[in-house]
Every structure is written in structure tokens, then in C-alpha cells.
């Protein structure tokens, strides 16, 4: 047996190396977790097929000629919400409960790099999601429109808004409550937050309020660009920015690590 020498040689690694290792670990663990894969990859694909069926409502009155062109951006919004809000909140909540965050706090890893690692892992999951959803969409004859840069901007701001909301939930509530709340909110936003069912199907007064939900802003922005080739959706981008701007300092202030 080789004997390692224990003579001290302390020092922290460069932050990029820590970030690469942290993001890689978080990403691999997400792909290994059956519930996470179901939530972020399988369910969105199933819902893509389901909502493409002309079952619940007609889209003809919204000026949508091809249903799939409406459904794909909606499902993209759902996927971002699944990965950056529900998945991140549940994962982080249980890491807090089981002392992972505390243990990492006893290493040279700065908290900023830990959060950055989680962010990168979520973005990597989103790349996989977008690829799978685009492939499935293409199989269903989806034709994307609009400016991909605006789509990217919407996804990034949506991730920032939902991600900080997810961390706020995970860092302040017990893991079991986070689990229940993150799933319930996901379902409510899916159906009543302007994702699967367009807000135009709601009474006007209700829709006027609901449009400022982060889910509605993200889905509306993505559909505007990808379905209708609309210009830059300033109101939606601003809405997401405000959510992120409110949730971020709140999470920084109230997040409990142990």
C-alpha cells in the first residue's frame, strides 16, 4: 500500500477549477436522479405531445395557424421553470436538510462558487432540454421563427428569476415543505400561470394580473418571438428582471445554509 505523506500544503484551488468541478458534479447528479430527470426532461416531452392534441382548447381564435408552433415555446417555458425553479429548489432543500451545504461550508469552496456551480448545472440541463424539445418539435413539424438571441435572453432572465425564487424557497423552508410547494407551484403555474393555457382564455381582469407572473412573462415572451416573430418583448423581459431583482437580495438575506 502506498503511503501518502500528510505534510501540510494548504491553499485553495483557482476559482475556475472549483467551478468546473462543482458544476460537473451537480450536473452529473441531476442526470442520475430519476425524479429530476422525470421532472425536467420526461414530463415536458410528454406534455409537448399532449398539449399538441386539440383537446382542451382551440387556438384558432388566437391567430395560431399551426398548434405545434404555439406548444413548443410554451413547453420551453415549462422546461426552464422545471429545471431552474422546481428542480433546483427541491435539490437544494434536501442538500440543506442532509447537511451537504454545511459540509461544503467547511471547505475552501466559496458560497459564490457553489451558487455559480448550481447555475451552470441548471443551464447545462436546459441545453439538454432545449435540444430534446426542439427535436421532438421538429418531429411534429415545428417551424421556429424569430430572433434566437432574444430567445436566449428570455431563457437566461427566466432562469435568473425562477432560480433565485427556487433558492429563496429552499433556503427558508423545511425540505419537505419545499418539495410540496415547489411541485404545487409548478402545477399551478403550468395551468394558471399562462404556460399551457394561454391567458387570453382567462377573463380579461384576471389575465391583466396574471401576465406579470414570471411564468406568464417567460411563456408569452417565447411565444411572441418563436410563434409570431414579434420584436423584443420588453415588458416580459422587464417583468422577469424585476422578479430576479426582488428574489435575489431576499435569498441572499434569508437563505439559511444549515
Amino acid at each position: 500500500m502506498s503511503e501518502p505523506g500528510f505534510r501540510a500544503a494548504p491553499g485553495a484551488a483557482p476559482k475556475q477549477r472549483m467551478l468546473a468541478a462543482q458544476a460537473g458534479m451537480e450536473f452529473r447528479l441531476l442526470l442520475r436522479n430519476g425524479e429530476q430527470v422525470g421532472l425536467t426532461l420526461v414530463i415536458p416531452l410528454l406534455l409537448l405531445v399532449f398539449f399538441n392534441l386539440p383537446l382542451l382548447y382551440s387556438l384558432a381564435d388566437l391567430g395560431v395557424q399551426r398548434r405545434i408552433d404555439f406548444v413548443v415555446p410554451s413547453i420551453l417555458a415549462l422546461a426552464v421553470m422545471s429545471a431552474s425553479f422546481t428542480g433546483l429548489a427541491i435539490g437544494t432543500g434536501f442538500e440543506r436538510k442532509y447537511g451537504v451545504l454545511k459540509r461544503l461550508g467547511g471547505t475552501a469552496l466559496p458560497r459564490s462558487v457553489l451558487i455559480a456551480g448550481k447555475t451552470v448545472a441548471v443551464l447545462l440541463v436546459e441545453i439538454v432540454q432545449v435540444a430534446l424539445i426542439a427535436l421532438a418539435g421538429a418531429a411534429l413539424a415545428w417551424h421556429p421563427h424569430g430572433d434566437p438571441v432574444v430567445v436566449l435572453l428570455l431563457v437566461i432572465l427566466g432562469t435568473a428569476a425562477f432560480g433565485t425564487l427556487g433558492l429563496l424557497l429552499a433556503g427558508t423552508m423545511r425540505a419537505e415543505i419545499t418539495l410540496a410547494a415547489a411541485n404545487l407551484i409548478w402545477l399551478v403555474l403550468l395551468l394558471g400561470g399562462g404556460v399551457a393555457i394561454p391567458l387570453a382564455k382567462f377573463p380579461r381582469a384576471v389575465a391583466d394580473v396574471l401576465q406579470f407572473l414570471p411564468s406568464a412573462a417567460l411563456a408569452d415572451g417565447l411565444r411572441g418571438v418563436l410563434t409570431f416573430s414579434a420584436g423584443v418583448p420588453w415588458r416580459d423581459l422587464l417583468t422577469l428582471l424585476v422578479w430576479a431583482g426582488v428574489a435575489m437580495p431576499a435569498a441572499a438575506r434569508w437563505f439559511r445554509w444549515q
Binding site: 503511503e3 501518502p4 501540510a8 477549477r17 452529473r28 447528479l29 454545511k102 467547511g106
Partner: protein, 309 residues
């Protein structure tokens, strides 16, 4: 200027509500030495160590770790200190053992080789096992490896051998001795007295958040009585009669039913007195043994023999 101590604690106080978990504790660990914090459950050992690690904030007193403040100077201190928490690994439980160790190695500028380190703690065969499937003792050994991989100059080991089988305990002791040989400073908590006696240069006995004794294991076992005689006989002997027969300064107690302990200056006369008295009572003293005082006796005298709830 005297060299900076590895750990220096002065008058540390930490309360949870009304309860003072740590109540005016002071200790000092020199560089390259091993200090054992010994005490019953709830004595304040973990609270003390977690304040040193920066996980908890103190109410009053001062704590300096490698001359730094564990909270204010955390960013500078963490790369230099290795931490082994109580109760499990505390890392990603879905990760494989070697993955988790590699992750922790990636936080360090000049880490130990993860595969070699796994071998050193006897986990080479389990390196691809997910952390959650490791046994309790294996998790403890992985936890120790995680504390060491960044090549720290000081390690805090909170009950390092809890849940280990005897072989693993011996192997872990061997590893801790090698750490010390290589100049690493070590604070460990334990309620195994043999562990403190085997490993520590200095032992600090704590009870109810206070230091009740400290010194080298030899000093602690030397103070007070010189030795003791143990024997076994039927329970309920008239100890008042035996006590009257014993020379001044000697005493006898029935530790558990039928287990007797004579404390005092052990000399041929004392031994003769005990055996003669037993003979006079028609009692056969079995398993009679003359012993030097063990740390366990010191510990039980200091912290009480009754079970705590």
C-alpha cells in the same frame, strides 16, 4: 513573540436559549500536537469545535484558529483547516466515494491523490460505491479522507471513530499518528477514553460546558490516588465494615452489583487488608486485580457515574 497556537480559546461562552452549552471554556493547542476533547454527550464538545470551524458564532470569549478569527477570516482559514463533522459524510450522498473525494480535491491547490488516500483509509474497494450505500464505518473513513485531502495544517475530527469496528478504529488511530508525525495539528473529540489515552498529547475533560480537568494522559491518571484494586464478589458486601478496616485515605465502592473498587495508595499492606477482610467474611474475591488508575476512572470521577438522561 511566541509562535501562534494552532487553536486558542479563552473564556468561550455559547448559550442556546437558557442553556449554556459552553460555559467559560479555555484551552490551547500547540502546533503539531494532538488535543482530545473528552466528555459525556452534551458536554459542549461539538459546539466548541463547530465554533472553531466557523459554523456557529460565539456569545462571548475569544477563539483564534491559526491566529485567525473563524468567522471574520473564514475565507483565509478554510483552505488551511480540515473538517470531519459528526454523523455521516455530509456530502452528496448519490455521488460515488471517489467522485466526492475528487470534488473536494478540486477545491485545493495541492491536494493529496484521491485514489491513494482512499487506499490509505481502506476504501479502495468501495471507491465506486455511492456514498449512501457505504456502511456507517465506511462513511466515517470517507469523512476522514475528505477532511485530509486538501492537505490542511490543522484538522478538527468530531468523534472520528464513532461507529467503527475495532479493526477500523485501530487503522484510524494509526492514520492519526501519521498525521501527527507529518506535523499536522489535530483536535479530536471523543468519548472513548482509550482513544484519548492512545492519541492525545493533551486531554481536556469537559462536562456541562466547562473544563473539569486537563493535562497529558499521564498527568491526569497520576493525580489523586496512586492506583486501585478491583475484585468481584457477591453483591451487597458490608462496605462500611471493610472501610473501617482500610488504612486512612483508602476507600471502597461497589461500582456495579458485585464489582468492587478499592481506591488508595496500593501497597502490599492494602492488598493484604482487603484479602484478609474478605477471608474473615467468608467471601471469595474473584478476578482480583491491582491496577493503575485509568483515564476512564478519572473521567467517571470527574463527570459522575450515574447515567444521564
Amino acid at each position: 513573540m511566541p509562535p501562534v497556537a494552532a487553536v486558542e480559546i479563552v473564556d468561550l461562552v455559547k448559550a442556546y436559549g437558557e442553556h449554556r452549552a459552553v460555559d467559560g471554556l479555555s484551552l490551547r493547542l500547540e502546533r503539531g500536537c494532538v488535543l482530545a476533547l473528552l466528555g459525556p454527550n452534551g458536554a459542549g464538545k461539538t459546539t466548541t469545535i463547530e465554533i472553531c470551524e466557523g459554523f456557529r458564532r460565539l456569545d462571548s470569549g475569544t477563539v483564534r484558529v491559526l491566529g485567525l478569527d473563524p468567522v471574520r477570516d473564514a475565507a483565509r482559514l478554510k483552505p488551511r483547516v480540515g473538517v470531519m463533522l459528526q454523523d455521516g459524510v455530509g456530502g452528496y450522498t448519490a455521488a460515488r466515494a471517489v467522485e466526492l473525494l475528487r470534488l473536494f480535491a478540486a477545491y485545493a491547490a495541492q491536494p493529496l491523490d484521491p485514489d491513494q488516500l482512499l487506499e490509505a483509509v481502506g476504501l479502495a474497494a468501495a471507491s465506486n460505491t455511492p456514498v449512501k450505500r457505504l456502511s456507517g464505518g465506511q462513511q466515517q473513513r470517507l469523512s476522514l479522507a475528505l477532511a485530509l485531502v486538501a492537505r490542511p495544517e490543522l484538522v478538527f475530527l468530531d468523534e472520528p471513530t464513532a461507529g467503527m469496528d475495532p479493526q477500523s478504529r485501530r487503522a484510524t488511530w494509526q492514520l492519526i499518528r501519521r498525521l501527527k508525525q507529518d506535523g499536522v495539528s489535530i483536535v479530536l473529540t471523543t468519548h472513548f477514553l482509550d482513544e484519548a489515552e492512545e492519541l492525545a498529547d493533551s486531554v481536556v475533560v469537559v462536562d456541562a460546558g466547562r473544563v473539569v480537568a486537563q493535562g497529558t494522559p499521564a498527568e491526569l491518571t497520576r493525580t489523586g490516588a496512586e492506583g486501585q484494586i478491583r475484585f468481584r464478589a457477591r453483591s451487597g458486601l458490608r462496605l462500611d465494615l471493610l472501610r473501617a478496616a482500610l488504612p486512612d485515605g483508602a476507600d471502597v465502592v461497589e461500582q456495579d452489583a458485585g464489582h468492587y473498587l478499592v481506591l488508595g495508595e496500593v501497597d502490599p499492606q492494602l492488598l493484604a487488608t482487603v484479602t484478609a477482610w474478605c477471608a474473615g467474611q467468608g467471601v471469595l474475591a474473584e478476578d482480583l486485580a491491582v491496577e493503575r488508575r485509568s483515564l476512564e476512572d478519572v473521567f467517571l470521577e470527574l463527570t459522575g457515574r450515574e447515567l444521564r438522561t
